[in-house]
């Protein structure tokens, strides 16, 4: 276990080490102290390492993550795990806007609440939120899954493509072209698996599923007001 104390070390040096830019020496466990809301912590990681951050992080923590497992024992700012490609990011607290934005792969688990635009433009990753989330979640989400155990704000899944959304609580309103869909056996199995991966205990049968009505996929005069 290697420890970085950001009260004395620089973010640039931390990321350089975590990205193994000077070579992979085999160390796999890292602990970061006193993050104090710094931005871009553990961004651009490419190796299967475990990083635990003890405290709150700023924007883009674990941004574009590949392979690594990053845990934040605190809250995270805007764009946590944005454009993640693989690996796992777990936030023990709450997160700000655009969590998991455009993420292509991997799993983002938020144990608290998430603000607006969670999973915006999602491109294949899975995002699981134990608490509630704000408005415009999964806007233009293309692929992957968003699972919310709590409640959801207005305009869920607006202009949705092929991402799937599962919600246990209430939904304030659905966005354009987002509709409730039947929960089939395959969906139920996928949801159970995802909840298990996230380490969350919830009855998959208590969720409702939402997806794209696919009415905006090709321009149509009748839908002009929705574009």
């Amino acid at each position: 276990m290697e420890t970085f104390d950001l009260s004395s070390a620089e973010v640039r040096d931390l990321n350089r080490r975590l990205q193994m830019r000077d070579g992979d020496d085999g160390e796999r466990q890292f602990r970061v102290l006193h993050p104090n809301g710094a931005h871009a912590l553990a961004a651009g990681l490419t190796h299967p390492i475990d990083v635990t951050i003890e405290g709150h992080t700023g924007y883009y923590c674990a941004g574009m993550n590949q392979e690594a497992t990053v845990t934040v024992n605190g809250n995270a700012g805007t764009g946590v795990a944005e454009n993640m490609m693989s690996g796992m990011v777990r936030i023990r607290g709450d997160v700000s806007q655009s969590a998991g934005a455009t993420a292509h792969g991997g799993l983002l688990v938020i144990e608290g609440d998430a603000s607006a635009r969670c999973a915006i433009s999602l491109k294949g990753a899975d995002v699981v939120v134990q608490g509630s989330i704000g408005h415009m979640a999964a806007f233009m989400a293309q692929a992957g899954k968003l699972v919310v155990l709590g409640d959801v704000g207005a305009d869920l899944g607006d202009s949705l493509y092929e991402a799937q959304i599962f919600v246990r609580g209430t939904v304030a309103s659905l966005g354009a072209d987002c509709v409730e869909k039947e929960m089939g056996e395959t969906h139920l199995a996928a949801l159970k698996s995802l909840l298990a991966q996230a380490g969350l205990d919830a009855d998959a049968g208590s969720f409702r599923r939402y997806g794209s009505a696919r009415q905006l996929y090709n321009f149509n005069i009748d839908n002009a007001g929705s574009y």
Binding site: V11, R12, N83, I120, M140, Q142, F219, I221
Partner: protein
């Protein structure tokens, strides 16, 4: 005579035709290309060649350098180009793979850069391009950290001249299996691109985003910020304060693969005033030449290049003109232009995917009409011509580097251009708005 008197200037034939079309279809017109309306432009400026008070350099013989370095402000590996003319961002998807490859090969041969677009980087493009700028767009279609690291510079696209404030479109006929896979979209849908970035809003956020991009790419890559020309003075100021190494300002004549006609013609300001506003902003911050200014939107000739540089740009970028060098709008396959309801010279049917000359298409049969090697030769010739024309004008003004051209070397032929470029109206000392 009576016919002339009966013609309305409020409702000329093209307006009536558009009203008829809108009434029939119920939706705005979507098209490719740039603004076609008449706006003040570089044609409205002329150079004051050397005579008694200044002496010229000997054409063809005396040295007139054209190199430019971009991105040395913060990046450890700035871009070094042999000529100040780059190829603008155009996506694989909007363009076919052959066109992208041809542009890359030509740029490489001329010692300049080419640029990706929405949908990410193709391997053909990376291999063909010695210096490849990677666009970081609101949609993030196909954007991966591996591709960021493979790029030579990153261009954060806030907007483009053809549609400032709007997102792109790629209609279903161009969303082939390969394009769909690159963008994680279903094949054949009409793809809409987001108009703003998903994880930042405003210049304070952009500063943090730029820092993240630098952390992910080891502080090596120059980071450009591209804006469509609107509130240019403020946009350039904010981009520089956010940490940009270079700013790209794209005027309203800049092209697009597809967007609403009303966007193309009615949003943004022309390139001419945008260059002047951008240079003023840089000078106010003592950042002129420290942060490079790249200008695009309607650059067609070496004279346009020279005038943009004389106004203070460090480089220009060409998109539509480069496509024309590839034979866009050439009188070939005329029956296919007819089938699209257009003619060579007027075509802006990029959005249909039925490009008669194989440039803006994903149709294998049409794309085969563009041979990448031959296309590269044509673009190389064109870039070479632009460079020589620019050098010719610089030498005529007595300059040993094209960057030594300055506003003092020019006058304007119209009051509007004099006001916008802030150079005197020819034959006077009058600069509208300042003297």
């Amino acid at each position: 005579m009576s016919n002339e008197r009966n013609k309305s200037t409020t409702f000329p034939p093209r307006v009536i035709s558009e009203i008829h079309r809108a009434a029939g279809e119920g939706i705005y017109e979507i098209r490719g290309g740039g603004a076609k309306r008449s706006v003040p432009n570089f044609d409205d400026l002329v150079f004051l060649g050397a005579s008694m008070s200044r002496y010229p350099l000997e054409g063809y013989r005396e040295r007139c350098d054209t190199d430019v370095t971009i991105g040395a402000r913060h990046a450890s590996k700035p871009i070094k180009l042999d000529i100040p003319i780059t190829i603008a961002g155009m996506s694989f998807g909007a363009l076919g793979a052959n066109a992208k490859q041809a542009l890359g090969l030509a740029a490489t041969a001329m010692g300049t850069s080419t640029t990706t677009g929405d949908g990410g980087m193709t391997q053909e493009e990376r291999e063909a391009s010695k210096t490849l700028i990677y666009q970081y767009l609101p949609s993030r279609y196909g954007m991966t950290p591996d591709q960021l690291r493979q790029a030579d510079a990153i261009e954060v696209v806030v907007g483009q001249g053809a549609k400032p404030g709007g997102g792109g479109m790629l209609l279903g006929q161009k969303i082939t299996d390969r394009v769909a896979e690159m963008r994680t979209l279903p094949t054949g849908i009409d793809q809409r691109s987001a108009c703003r970035h998903p994880d930042w809003t405003g210049p304070d956020d952009l500063e943090i985003k730029i820092r993240e991009l630098r952390e992910i790419t080891n502080w090596e890559k120059p980071i450009y910020v591209k804006v469509g020309a609107t509130r240019t003075r403020y946009d350039v100021t904010l981009a520089v304060k956010a940490g940009a190494d270079a700013v790209v300002v794209d005027g309203m004549q800049g092209g697009t693969a597809a967007t609403q006609d009303v966007f193309i013609e009615d949003v943004g300001i022309p390139t001419l005033p945008a260059v002047r506003l951008a240079v003023e902003a840089l000078r106010e911050m003592n950042m002129h030449r420290e942060v490079q200014l790249i200008v695009s939107g309607g650059i067609r000739t070496g004279a346009d290049v020279a005038k943009a540089l004389a106004m203070g740009a460090d480089a220009v970028s060409i998109g539509m003109a480069a496509l024309m060098a590839l034979n866009c709008n050439a009188p070939l396959y005329e029956e296919d232009y007819t089938a699209l309801g257009t003619t060579p010279g007027d075509c802006h049917m990029c959005h249909t995917g039925r490009c008669p000359v194989g440039i803006t298409t994903q149709d294998p049969e049409l794309e085969a009409r563009l041979d990448p090697e031959e296309g590269a030769r044509r673009v190389r010739n064109y870039l070479s011509t632009l460079t020589m024309e620019c050098q010719t004008l610089a030498r005529a003004c007595g300059k040993s580097h094209v960057h030594n051209l300055e506003p003092e070397d020019m006058v304007a032929l119209t009051v509007e251009a004099a006001a916008m470029a802030q150079v005197p109206l020819a034959g006077t000392d009058w600069i509208p708005g300042s003297s």
